[in-house]
Amino acid sequence: MNTRVFELLGLKSPAGVHPPSQKLAAGHAIERAPLPKSVTLPLQQHIGAPAKAVVKKGDKVKVGQVIAEASGFVSAPIHATISGIVKQLATVASPVTGHPVSGVIIESDGKDEWIELTPADPEALSKEEVLTRVKDAGIVGMGGATFPTHVKLSPPPEKSIKSIIVNGAECEPYITADDRLMLEETDRILRGLKTMMQVLSVKRAYIAIEENKPQAIARMRQAVTESSLPGEVEVVAVPAKYPMGAEKTLVKAILGVEVPEGGLPMDVGALVQNVATLAAVYDAVALGKPLVERVVTVTGLVSEPKNLLVRFGTAALQLIELCGGIPPEADEMIFGGPMMGIAQVSYDAPIIKGTNCVLVKQSDIRVEHSCIRCGRCIESCPMDLMPLMYVNYVKRGAYESLSDYHITNCVECGACVYNCPANIPIVSYIKIGKTELQKQGEK
């Protein structure tokens, strides 16, 4: 209420930025990419402990067979995404960190032979059985965060989940994978949601979609009224403002409450799930199908941007070639959106569970100037922080002052950098600051 009044007076404009949406592939229906001849599967595709390989060189594998198992509760197994022969256990560059991680390379036999799947009636399954199926299918948050989904679905007993927020915001420019999924796979998403509501005994759900996707909003609204969901489900058109799809921003926009500092959405009774994750949950629970593929938007400078259904481990280059090849002016490839995505070392980088987009672009590196204290970073920050202070303190090495300005609250969305007239890579300074602060804490 208070903030509303302030906002109306213009004393506090709602935070965030408006980058051009560039949803070039929005009109392109999802296409299945041809099966790759080989796949490279890094064994760390999620937040948590890396998976441990359970196959060796020369093993014959089928699609959906576990090739690496979870090594702890916060971890997820990894499955073969094509049928064929394990060619090599190798060290590969992680598309997330760029650091070397163990990986498995499989060479296709061209047959696409699957393991035997065991379908089930989700309503006949117990809560534990559902969670086991989700865990065994290797499902992680597919919006990019890649947190293992079974962990999110097992809140500690003292936290009660009252509502599920389905994240269809897709606030990053260029990406259209979730948009297309909502249009074409509406049913799988809602079935996944139904299962989740049952598992958590939740009676309230919100499907949040940015208002720049009117078709998806209409499609979901219609599907919700026709469906038999166990409780009240509302499709909410949220303002198209980056980073609307960040968990904490979305919780505030939908529920009007803030997640306490250092806490999780479950602290205010909410659980946020990406639409693609829900579709994967349906596949796992009802069909017994492990997570081996996802929709990836291939876009940017390519001549034909597309939304492709891609097996994990496929090299990005193959997808780019399906979209018209590498344009001569391109010299940078991002996995994820332009705001938070990660620049890749090579066009051969493999698609993994969290890769929602392959963005081919021309690099735009700018000279950093001194801060002119314009305050735009403060206005842009969705967490209401003072980003310029982190730059000051990191430059001076005064890391202990960073916590006075709540640096750990920063979600690294990059809105501040987007609006910075001095081209200061504020997020890079913040990452240094967080790392240094953690080192000091460990001493």
Partner: protein, 320 residues
């Protein structure tokens, strides 16, 4: 397969908005065009000479200062803005050698000595104005009536806020003259109309926010009314309008947060009225802004936004 094209690895975000320092500065220059042309129209071509002198001196001074400090020089437009603003707050017949000395002071002492753009504590143009006022008091207190001709010499007269200002105009005519700018004063401060149009340009392009001008002017209006002064005269006359839109809103020397900006503007407004009513000077805009500039670091230290999810009294570190 395999493609060995080396790829660029840059940190996120990989997308940048339109904002740039030079865009901001050149927008200010554009917004200053009307008040500048107005200054030449009211007080003659000599003002153009002052402008050329100040801008060239300011840019050259910055270039030399950057050479001496071994820092890269780029024409981001900030020295041009300082040069123009400095002339606009000078009496329209200030000797050129004073313009040169003042411009050097603005850039070399008020800006570069502190570390250059972004590090200066005081608004450079106003610091320069006070420096020349203190150093060359005689020349800096000679104001002329608008000549409305290109080459006329100008007749020395008092400004509307000055001692000995006698007007044969009715109140309505005086307000109109003040609004249009047909009164004695510093070169670019007299026309409220032209400054308001410039201010509107700055607001429309998002270069400045409305809070400082509105709270600054509002405070002066209300307080001068409460103290028995003519509130309309006090917001239209003198350098207030120019200061409110172009000087008090200077990013570098005003507070970062919206609440901080309001405190700054109200403080400056109170100072203007107090100086005009109780001080020995007819005008207080420059001092009011410079004094609040000095308070800016303090305001920024204590006025911060409440972080998302912050619960008073609970100090909690986020788990990584």
């Amino acid at each position: 397969m395999g493609n060995s094209t080396p790829l660029v690895l840059s940190p996120a975000p990989h997308l940048r908005g339109r904002a740039s320092i030079s865009r901001d500065m050149y927008l200010v220059v554009i917004a200053l065009l009307l008040p500048t042309v107005g200054a030449i129209y009211f007080f003659g071509l000599y003002v153009l000479l002052m402008l050329a002198t100040a801008v060239i001196t300011a840019v050259l001074t910055e270039y030399i200062a950057k050479l001496m400090r071994k820092r890269p020089f780029n024409l981001d437009g900030s020295a041009i803005v300082t040069g123009i603003l400095f002339v606009l707050v000078l009496p329209p017949r200030t000797p050129l050698w004073i313009v040169v000395v003042g411009s050097i002071f603005c850039i070399a002492i008020a800006k570069e000595a502190f570390g250059g753009l972004g590090h200066n504590i005081f608004n450079p143009a106003l610091a320069g104005r006070i420096f020349v006022t203190v150093s060359f008091a005689g020349a800096l207190n000679r104001f002329i009536a608008p000549t409305n001709s290109w080459l006329a010499d100008g007749i020395t007269t008092a400004t509307p806020l000055g001692e000995g200002f006698i007007s044969t105009m009715s109140k309505g005519e005086l307000y109109k003259a003040l609004f249009l700018g047909n009164v004695a004063g510093s070169a670019g401060e007299t026309s409220a109309l032209l400054i308001l149009i410039g201010g509107a340009i700055l607001l429309a392009f998002g270069v400045i926010k409305w809070h400082i001008p509105v709270f600054y002017l509002g405070t002066v209006f209300v307080l001068s009314f409460l103290m028995g002064l003519d509130p309309l005269l006090h917001i239209l006359a003198g350098g207030l309008m120019l200061g409110a839109f172009f000087m008090a809103t200077d990013y570098v020397t005003s507070p970062l947060t919206t609440r901080g900006k309001i405190i700054f503007a109200v403080g400056a407004g109170i100072l203007v009225v107090l100086i005009r009513k109780l001080g020995s000077m007819p005008e207080g805009v420059a001092y009011s802004i410079l004094l609040m500039n000095a308070f800016t670091p303090l305001i920024d230290r204590y006025v911060r936004p409440r972080p998302y999810g912050y619960v008073k009294g609970v100090k909690k570190e986020a788990s990584p």
